[in-house]
């Protein structure tokens, strides 16, 4: 635990030691604002809730989370600092979790900084703040899912661009796993129960109720086990590929 904290602090500090943090936060805030007001028509709807804000988060994360995740391990391998990290008296799992949590908390900070939109909606009307809080938690949980996939992919390559592109593609497939685009492809040659299983992996389906502020235990378990699975794979890949 102590080692995880040490790695976590170093990682989180490194975001703010470079322009990465500031560029990311600014782009995140501009994009989420633009999507809420232009695509989501927050004002025109005439309703005091934040669903136009939360409904675009999957698409926002699709590109922004891989941008944060791509450097997690690829950079470490490229610069050779992985040799230092892996010869310190800590386990691979501790490094994976420490680095992951730092990136997740960083995304969380970006998410918290969208609070002016919450203030706006409270000024304009009387929204259900419990629903908004639940939706924030749901959104944060989904970001964690994207990030775990990205962290694992980042460990597979030294090249951050490759890590980014592959992560976007995999996240895209997970997002749309419940849509005809993905399902029709499998329907032709897979039995129905496997197609149903693939459909149940969809981020969008699991996020849909979370975004409405309904915290269903099944959705939470889905995202938590998804994160666990990808981080476990991440640990194995780091172990295998660290010296390549």
């Amino acid at each position: 635990m102590r080692n995880i904290t040490t790695i976590f602090k170093r990682e989180l500090g490194s975001y703010f030691a470079t322009p990465v943090a500031y560029v990311f936060i600014v782009i995140f805030l501009i994009m989420s604002g633009a999507m809420t007001f232009y695509l989501g028509s927050l004002y025109e709807r005439g309703q005091a809730d934040l669903s136009p804000f939360f409904q675009y988060h999957p698409w926002l994360y699709l590109f922004l989370v891989p941008a944060i995740a791509m450097r997690l391990w690829a950079e470490e391998r490229k610069s050779g600092s992985i040799e230092l990290l892996m010869t310190l008296p800590i386990s691979v799992g501790e490094s994976v979790i420490g680095k992951y949590l730092a990136a997740w908390v960083f995304i969380g900070i970006s998410l918290v900084l969208t609070f002016p939109i919450w203030i706006t909606i409270n000024y304009l009307g009387n929204p259900d703040n419990g629903v908004i809080l639940a939706a924030y938690l749901g959104s944060f949980l989904m970001a964690g899912g994207f990030l775990a996939i990205g962290s694992c992919i980042s460990a597979m390559t030294k090249n951050q661009v490759i890590a980014f592109i592959i992560t976007v593609v995999i996240c895209f497939l997970f997002l749309l796993a419940g849509s005809p685009l993905v399902l029709n492809f499998f329907k032709v040659w897979m039995p129905q129960n496997i197609v149903d299983a693939i459909s149940s992996l969809s981020f969008l389906t699991h996020y849909a109720s979370l975004a409405k502020g309904v915290i269903d235990l099944r959705d939470v378990i889905y995202f938590v086990s998804l994160i666990g699975f990808w981080l476990y794979a991440n640990t194995i890949i780091v172990e295998m590929k660290k010296a390549d």
Partner: protein
């Protein structure tokens, strides 16, 4: 104390290290010599637990590196080839980070920080990001990191590479000053360095140990009494 038994490492069909065995006792400074690609770095990476051996075993202070990696790593200070570090950090932040991982605390931590900063002359660059430092300073930051926790075993992969003659001299002095009760393994291309700091030298080429002797012993084998000649005779004799 390091015990290496029948250590081999294969990368696919390529054999990087083949059946290497040796022991190093406290107080010994072992120079690891050999042409580029001889297997020096690979052997060091196996000692420090970064690479796992294909066959054979490494024991550091009684702990098998494959079976008890954390215990072994606690007792090792390691400067990897090229002295990698986290470029966006400043040396003081970096030492703070390493100190936390090495579980230094309280007065001991303050004293150790002070000592390595003074020994490696880092005081002027403490608050400058490592990325912006010269090659010599980067190397010294890497060395500071390796000796911070006063380890029983010190593995240094080309510690004086990229340093100017004065800095080289200082690093050699530093190694000499901490040598008496430690196990130290140094890889180097610079043969005069072996005479200056090593109590023993191993010459390795194509992954095999070709000679294992004191610098004087090695020199006595050569007709010309020069380290360069003996190195060339041993390593090229093997290749042809």
């Amino acid at each position: 104390m390091i015990k290496i038994k029948n250590l081999s490492k294969k990368f696919g069909h390529l054999t990087a290290v083949e059946d290497v065995s040796f022991e190093v006792k406290p107080g010994e400074v072992l120079g690891f010599l050999g042409p580029n690609g001889a297997g020096k770095s690979t052997t060091m990476k196996m000692i420090t637990g970064f690479l796992s051996p294909t066959t054979g075993s490494v024991e550091v202070c009684g702990f098998d590196v494959s079976e008890k990696p954390i215990e072994a790593k606690k007792r090792i200070g390691y400067l990897p080839e090229g002295a990698p570090s986290y470029g966006e950090m400043t040396p003081i932040q970096y030492l703070e980070f390493i100190g936390q991982i090495r579980q230094l605390s309280g007065q001991n931590k303050i004293d150790r920080n002070k000592e390595v900063i003074q020994k490696l002359h880092l005081d002027k660059v403490l608050n400058q990001s490592i990325d912006t430092l010269s090659k010599g300073f980067k190397r010294r930051v890497g060395l500071a990191q390796a000796i911070l926790h006063d380890p029983e075993v010190l593995i240094l992969d080309e510690p004086t590479d990229g340093l100017d003659p004065n800095q080289k001299f200082e690093v050699r002095e530093l190694i000499n000053s901490i040598a008496p009760d430690k196990v130290i393994i140094i890889s180097t291309h610079i043969l005069s360095e072996v005479d200056a700091i090593c109590s023993r030298a191993i010459i390795i080429a194509d992954g095999k140990v070709l000679a294992d002797d004191t610098p004087e012993g090695l020199r006595s084998k050569s007709s010309s009494d020069k380290m360069d000649d003996i190195f060339r005779e041993i390593t090229s004799g093997h290749i042809s």
